[in-house]
Symmetry: C2
Subunit: 293 residues, 2 copies
């Protein structure tokens, strides 16, 4: 490991594919595009979701389950597992749906024209507009919903790619980077805590896609599902976030949406693929194999 | 500087307000909220923008100038300068508009109810919906616009808070962090380059808020306005981004929007505040003082 204070960047950065010594995993690359030919599976429902049960994936499955709970039959979906640790996001089929090679990605086959949507925030907006639900119509409430939705999208990289990476995943602990991203993560938690001190949900009294976007990340930190950092971050200081996170976490649609496409945690909380509402009923303590596995 | 490989994080993170030795500037804090009482100024137009001419600020002023260019008189705006290096984002008035204390923030006084919007992406969506412009109505084009808009919002923290910070601003050069964020920045540039190889604009043939969101960041990198990194990133490899960036950079609305609220660069490219279309005509080679300065 180079001592930080000695390092002088080169004139031109080049890719050091140094294998084990490389500071990044083998699936990080400085180029885009597919690495192999692989078609995506297609199920029988209008909506085809290609995802993984990370916080960004959970946002979408929570919204879909909420829509189904409200009775929107058009929200029926097949959720297919993309194993990002095995490079599933670099197959030709996936790259066609999301050229950025990140989960989640959605294909809507409801109408004659097949529509692709990528980025979790875009998928939430797309589905909320399509079904006319969980996105306020009244101007000021809608503006508030957009503001907090984008706040989540712009801040999650500091929580995940910043704090989570340097605190939990990086092969070496770098004090400067941990301090930088911890400070920002605590500030963001405090922004949310102050908001929720006076409001039941993020936008006000109405539960919206802003809550669904924020809950998997901030709720995950507070409830201890992410990075094992509750003590480090002193999450008990954020009591309003805790109250809100607990309330949302008890919703039946959230309980279902949280486990779709999950491959980590308790086996009872892993539903690798979802093709029908009855898939949840069939779950046992044993891990259910994904179709095709 | 602690040698990276020696560092063990504490059980509980605490704020080291170490002054000059602190790894972060004095304006970064682990808590939210206002630090001082200060009302925001209000001008005569329906839209009041509180911002700074950074890439995130430029997105909004570019859209407003494009709307005015199209003849939407309701898009007339007062653009007030928020000096983030002096803590302007922590005044009570600003925090009331954006509890996250980041520029840009917008107040819409067009109707009886005053509406606040924060986060650049939310402001773009809000204005595009309000005026019915630069956001496609057709379903697949709209989905594509949302996807790329959110792609920009989710990726900019890797360019700015990641690459820009560790390459250009951090007090010490940390190889691991520079490698991590450089690799991701080059990958993102390649994602965009491949998209623009086959499309005039990001969504296709139509110029949208997705272009306006992406241009200040990715165009800034390519055209050398950000971080002095054109050689380091080998930006000449991204010829399609270059073509697109140059095309957009020549639009008169973009030329105007790019300099509103700017306080850096050539003096001829700084219009600290904007209250009228004629403010641009009055610009000279001399720096124009902001009102109230």
């Amino acid at each position: 490991m180079t001592n930080s204070s000695d390092y002088v960047p080169p004139k031109v950065w080049t890719w050091d594919k140094g294998g084990a010594a490389s500071p990044v995993t083998s699936h990080n690359r400085p180029v885009a595009g597919a690495t192999h030919v692989k078609e995506l599976p297609v199920g029988r429902h209008p909506l085809q979701l290609y995802s993984l049960g990370t916080p960004n994936g959970q946002k979408v499955t929570i919204l879909l389950e909420e829509l189904l709970e409200l009775g929107y039959a058009g929200a029926e979906y097949d959720a297919w597992l993309i194993r990002i640790n095995e490079g599933g996001q670099f197959g030709t089929g996936f790259v066609d749906v999301n050229p950025n090679s990140k989960i989640p990605a959605l294909v809507d086959r409801s109408d004659a024209e097949t529509i692709r949507v990528f980025e979790s925030g875009a998928i939430l907006m797309y589905l909320a507009e399509k079904f006319g639900a969980f996105l306020p119509q009244e101007a000021s409430q809608r503006a508030e919903c957009l503001s907090w939705l984008f706040w989540q999208m712009g801040s999650a990289p500091y929580l995940g790619g910043g704090f989570g990476h340097f605190y939990a995943y990086a092969p070496v602990k770098i004090k400067y980077a941990i301090d930088r991203f911890t400070m920002e993560t605590k500030r963001l938690l405090d922004v949310l805590d102050r908001r929720l001190a006076d409001n039941t949900f993020v936008v006000g009294t109405e539960y919206t896609i802003a809550d669904m976007a924020i809950w998997p990340w901030y709720g995950g930190l507070i409830q201890g599902r992410l990075y094992d950092a509750t003590e480090f971050l002193s999450v008990r200081d954020y009591q309003h976030v805790r109250r809100w996170a607990d309330t949302i976490g008890e919703r039946s649609a959230v309980i279902r949406g949280r486990i779709v496409n999950r491959t980590s945690g308790e086996l009872s909380e892993q539903l690798h693929e979802r093709h029908s509402a009855t898939d949840f009923d069939l779950m046992t303590q044993d891990k259910r194999p994904a179709r095709g596995e």
